[in-house]
Symmetry: C2
Subunit: 143 residues, 2 copies
Amino acid sequence: MRNDHPELSWLREQGYRLTPQRLAILDVLRNTHGHLNPTEIYQRVSQDIPGLTEATVYRTLNFLAEQGLVLVAHLGRGRLVYEFTEHDHHHLICRQCGDMREIDHLELKGLYKQFLNNTGYQINTIHATFFGLCPDCQKDWSP
Amino acid sequence: MRNDHPELSWLREQGYRLTPQRLAILDVLRNTHGHLNPTEIYQRVSQDIPGLTEATVYRTLNFLAEQGLVLVAHLGRGRLVYEFTEHDHHHLICRQCGDMREIDHLELKGLYKQFLNNTGYQINTIHATFFGLCPDCQKDWSP
DNA sequence: CTTGCTATTGCAAGTAATTGCAATAGCAAG
DNA sequence: CTTGCTATTGCAATTACTTGCAATAGCAAG
C-alpha cells in the first residue's frame, strides 16, 4: 500500500488521522476503475483488514466524500455508489430504458466558471446524475 | 384536492393509476415550498389517508421521480429529499460551513443544449448538487 | 352500471445505512 | 521513545429504505 499520495498529507495536516481502515478503503477506490457500492468495498477491504465493520466503511465513505476525495453518485432507487475523484465524470441516464453514459468533467467546466462569477463559489466536488430520454426512447414518447 | 393538473391525465394515458395515495403525496409536494424527506411526507399525507404505509410513500416517491414529476436531491450522508418539479433549481453547498444556495434551472440550459448536440439525449429531469467552497471559506483554505 | 384485467397497496420481512458509547490507537509534543 | 489528547473504531441498537406476495381497487371496455 503506497502512502505517498498528496491528499494523505493534506488530510493529516487538517488534523484527521490516517488509519489503516481509511488507507485501505481509499486504496481500493484508487485502484478500481468505475463505481463501487459500500458492500463491494467492504468485501474487498475486509481481506486486508479482517476486523473491519460495515459501519466503518459507511462512515469512511461519508468522510472521504466530505473531504472531496471520493465522489458519490445517486443512481436512483436509493443506490449509492462511490468512486475515486481522479477521472471526473458524470452520468446521463435514460429514464425509459436505463441506458447510461458518461459525461466528461470538462463538459461542465464552463458552468463552474459561471458559478464562480455569479456566486463566488469555487466548485471542487461534484457528481451529477442527469436523467433524460435517449435518442431511441424519444421516438416512443411523442404521440 | 384538485385533480385537474395536466400531468395527471398524462399519467393515466401511460397506463398508470391515479390512486388516492399518489394524488395525496403529489398534492403535499405540490403545496410545499422546498424539500421534504420521506418521513415528513408520510406524516403529512397520513392525515388524509389514515391507512397509508411508509412503504407506499417510498414506492410512490421513486415512481414520481422516475416519471419526472418530482426531483430527488441527495444532500449528503444518505439522506434523500424530494420536491415538486415546478421551480427547477439545483444546489450549491459549501463543504466547509454547510452554507447552501439555490441555482436556477436556467443556468444549466446551455449545458442541456450541449448534451443534446453531443449525445442526442434530451434532458428532462435533473437535480444536481454541487459541492464547493463559498467565498468566505476559501480564505481558510490557502496557507 | 357491471366486468375483468392488472397496477398498486398493505403487510411483514429483509437489506442498507446511521449512530451512541466505551475502548482503541494516531500522532504531535516533549 | 514515551505521554497525553482526542479522532476513530467496533459493537450493538436504531433508523432508513426496499421487496415478495396476496388482497384490493383503478379504469377501460362492453
